[in-house]
């Protein structure tokens, strides 16, 4: 268990620090010794625990700009929090999980199982069945049978009651689910118990109520269910994504085969238990586990009427290609590189908190993460200083500790990917700043990271990193901010920070993205449609608009 160094402010030391020429930025600055993006050899990085000339100039200008309103924080003294671990004794986990098909847990035809690890400890939690093509066919047949014989014939108000039951059972078992979510995925338990699990329950509760009101959803049209939906969900919000997929599908009268991600299958399998407990008719929801090949077998199954996928744009395109010409209706919720824009007239401290939430929530494993920060030039130095200070106060460590801000990276694979981007960022000449808190010895960890001195052309600005990595750019005019924000093939989300209402509406109407947060970020609600423009996807999830992908007229 890592001890988390928290900041403690001391006015004397602040003064001293301000005067001292050798004042330390507590974080770690990394800059390439030579700006070569093509150097094939190992990265020639210099890790400097101190200040670069640039950071010094930031501090100088910060003093001028912000004066006493931005006191220096001293990080060398420690404020230690006692660990506050969430107890795991009430969590019931099997050693081995089978496939949930037709209302029962069944051994896979493949005969194979794979381990799901706790990314914070690298210990195996359980073995999980790997579904092959035969298993996929079994699951789809079960869903088809349930659709033809039970679910499509059931009155909407009865379907509703089953979905309400699921919502209630999730609420009842919320603590167990949030702990498992954190163990399996690495996210801080503070987030899983306040965001993931309550929102998952809320989603079922919201869509349950639609089941007997579908004729009011689409004026002038009579919506009908599609049939069997194949749904593939990612590892960043495992149970919540399952809820986003299953709830509207069932409400609209479809049956489901769901495949959770291979690194985070456990809460979906717990959901299968809940579905049994709710006595949902067998086959209405089937949950099969496996990796890419299982997903491919599901997508390519000819008896699906609908495919819903949340994940990377790369895989999304493969799925769109596979679905082309088959008549399967498609919803894609894909990647993003969302802009977060701070104007000089923003409430700066609030904006800095918002930026931290936008990029470091769930280790940055968020498709709509505010990964590109744009700061108006006049306040850039101050904002960067404040961000660096705030960064230093974030604790990285045991996700089960209620004090933890940033948990474990979901998998070794993802950590390698993030680290590769960090290397590229430094190689391309950007200035990397990371916090300096101690990291646990085992597990997959990434310090929260800020890159400054980046350009639009940099890979770390263009590509989705899906980790706690923020790039910072500046702008002068609103038009420049809009142009830079839109300069990406993605269009999932965006954030605007200003106290001026008319500026909010100018920006929110001109940024080409599906969700815009003004003076807030990363808020979600079952009544609120979510989804992307451009290459961030097609279709919406949430709200009345989230029913459309699951009906035909």
């Amino acid at each position: 268990m890592a001890k988390n160094n928290k900041t403690k402010l001391n006015s004397k030391t602040v003064k001293k620090l301000n005067k001292s020429s050798s004042r330390l930025r507590a974080g770690i600055l990394v800059k390439a010794t030579q700006k070569s993006a093509t150097t094939p050899t190992k990265l020639p990085v210099v890790r400097v625990a101190g200040v670069s000339a640039l950071a010094k100039s930031y501090e100088k200008s910060t003093r001028n700009l912000a004066g006493k309103s931005t006191p220096k924080l001293k990080f060398s003294t420690t404020w230690q929090y006692a660990p506050s671990l969430e107890a795991t004794d009430q969590v019931k986990l099997e050693k081995k999980y089978d496939l949930f098909i037709n209302g029962k847990f069944q051994e896979p035809n493949s005969g194979k199982y794979f381990a799901t690890l706790n990314p914070a400890t690298e210990n195996k939690i359980a073995d999980v069945a790997e579904a092959n093509e035969q298993d996929v066919t079994l699951a789809v047949s079960a869903a088809r049978n349930a659709y033809d014989n039970v679910w499509s014939r059931m009155a909407g108000k009865e379907r509703a009651k089953y979905i309400f039951r699921i919502a209630r059972l999730i609420q009842e078992r919320a603590k167990e689910l949030s702990i498992i979510e954190t163990m399996d995925g690495g996210k801080p338990v503070r987030e899983s118990r306040t965001v993931d699990i309550p929102l998952a329950a809320a989603h079922f509760f919201y869509y349950a109520g639609w089941a007997d009101k579908m004729e009011f959803a689409f004026p002038g049209r009579q919506p009908q269910a599609l049939g069997v939906a194949g749904q593939i969900i990612p590892w960043n919000f495992p149970l919540l994504m399952a809820a986003w997929k299953i709830a509207p599908a069932l409400a609209a009268g479809n049956t489901v085969v769901l495949k959770p991600a291979e690194t985070t299958p456990l809460t979906a399998l717990k959901l299968a238990e809940i579905i049994q407990q709710a006595e949902l008719p067998p086959g209405v929801v089937n949950i099969i586990t496996g990796a890419g090949p299982t997903g491919a077998a599901l997508v390519n199954h000819p008896d699906l009427n609908k495919i819903a996928f949340t994940g990377s744009t790369e895989i999304g395109k493969i799925i769109q290609r596979a679905a082309a010409g088959t008549g399967k209706k498609l919803t894609l919720e894909l990647g993003g590189k969302s802009a977060n824009i701070i104007f000089e007239d923003a409430a700066i401290d609030q904006a800095v908190e918002g930026v931290v939430n936008a990029i470091f929530f769930n280790q940055g494993h968020v498709c709509c993460a505010g990964s590109r920060l744009f700061v108006q030039e006049s306040v850039a130095a101050m904002v960067i200083r404040k961000l660096q200070d705030r960064l230093e106060s974030l604790s990285v460590g045991d996700p089960l500790d209620k004090n933890t801000d940033i948990g474990a990276i979901n998998s070794k694979m993802q950590l390698d990917k993030i680290n590769a981007y960090l290397d590229v960022g430094v190689k391309e000449g950007a200035l990397m700043y990371q916090n300096s808190c101690p990291l646990p010895k085992k597990g997959y960890w990434c310090r929260p990271t800020i890159f400054t001195e980046v350009a639009q052309s940099h890979k770390i600005v263009q590509e989705e990193i899906f980790g706690p990595v923020l790039t910072v750019q500046t702008f002068r005019t609103p038009e420049e901010a809009i142009e830079k924000a839109n300069n990406t093939p993605y269009g999932l989300a965006g954030g605007i920070w200003t106290e001026k209402g008319s500026k909010i509406f100018k920006l929110t109407s001109q940024i080409r993205a599906g969700v815009l947060w003004a003076n807030t970020y990363n808020k979600f609600d079952p009544t609120s449609p979510f989804g992307g423009y451009k290459e961030s996807g097609m279709g919406r999830e949430g709200g009345v608009h989230g029913l459309l992908p699951y009906v035909k007229f």
């Binding site: 679905a323 082309a324 010409g325 993205a513 599906g514 423009y533």
Partner: protein, 286 residues
């Protein structure tokens, strides 16, 4: 007057508010079924298509920011201009193979469809947008925004009504478009461009090309700066479009409508097919 030699029209294409011939210099021959009319129609190249997309992209933001009232009036103006020139369209539709009765009906239906969508301009938003009762202390609303630049592959039959029925909901929603007219019945489409040009439709909002489907449909589907595609075609063309559209996640809407005169061939869902939902959050507090 009987000995007078009539002046024949050169059928051009319509790009960025201008009437050029194809950059390729190529043409294909149109012959009316009765043989009483021939024309050398532009055989557009993919370069023509790319030029048209550039024009459509440039025109789109300003068109989208025009008021709904303004867009509605412009749609209505197109109807006025078409009504005024109906005899010319009836003549051309007959050249394209319609009977007099069919031609009259098709022109009437086209005019009525424009009026229908003119009326939707300031109403579809209220039908499809929402204020969402989120559980946290935020004001949250979802509105429709145009998808952007839309490619339109027209049906081969009822060339005029098909074009109008696809174009009107797409532009009334603030999109711009590049249209590939019916290959077999291209005349009325180009004459319709003349109607657009005199109806205050800003240059580039609608661009109309003539040419061969086999050559151009794939280009429409592949272009990285086209956001969506409306296609009326056979299963092969539909599949081709869906496959080729993947690279920029183009939204493909395929319409299997045989009779565009039916009332089911119109409605606000033809508008919302080319709209994106944008959701905006703001905290409530002091």
């Amino acid at each position: 007057m009987e000995n007078r030699i009539s002046v024949q029209k050169t059928y051009k294409i319509y790009v960025d508010g201008k009437f050029p011939r194809t950059e390729s210099g190529r043409f294909f021959e149109f012959k009316s079924p009765k043989g009483n009319m021939t024309a050398n129609v532009s055989l557009c190249s993919r370069k023509d298509f790319r030029d048209a997309v550039v024009a459509a992209r440039a025109a789109q933001p300003k068109w989208a920011s025009a008021s709904a009232y303004n867009r509605g009036q412009i749609l209505y103006r197109i109807a006025e201009m078409l009504e005024g020139r109906r005899s010319q369209f009836v003549e051309e539709l007959i050249w394209e193979g319609s009977s007099e009765v069919q031609a009259q009906a098709e022109v009437s239906a086209s005019i009525d469809r424009l009026v229908y969508y003119a009326g939707w301009s300031d109403k579809y938003q209220q039908i499809f947008s929402a204020v969402n009762p989120v559980a946290s202390s935020h004001f949250n609303f979802s509105v429709l925004e145009p998808t952007g630049v839309v490619g339109i592959i027209c049906p081969e039959s009822t060339a005029l009504l098909g074009l109008v029925s696809l174009m009107a909901p797409i532009i009334v929603g603030g999109n711009s478009c590049v249209i590939l007219s019916s290959s077999s019945k291209p005349l009325s489409s180009i004459t319709f461009a003349e109607v657009l040009e005199t109806s205050d439709v800003p240059a580039g909002v609608v661009n109309i090309l003539t040419g061969m489907r086999a050559e151009l449909v794939k280009q429409f589907a592949q272009h990285m700066d086209v956001n969506a595609l409306a296609i009326c075609g056979d299963e092969n063309e539909k599949s081709l479009c869906e496959v080729e559209a993947v690279e920029n996640l183009k939204r493909v809407r395929a319409y299997d409508i045989q009779d565009w005169a039916l009332s089911l061939a119109q409605g606000p869902y033809f508008i919302s097919d080319f709209q994106e939902i944008k959701t905006t959050w703001h905290p409530i507090g002091i």
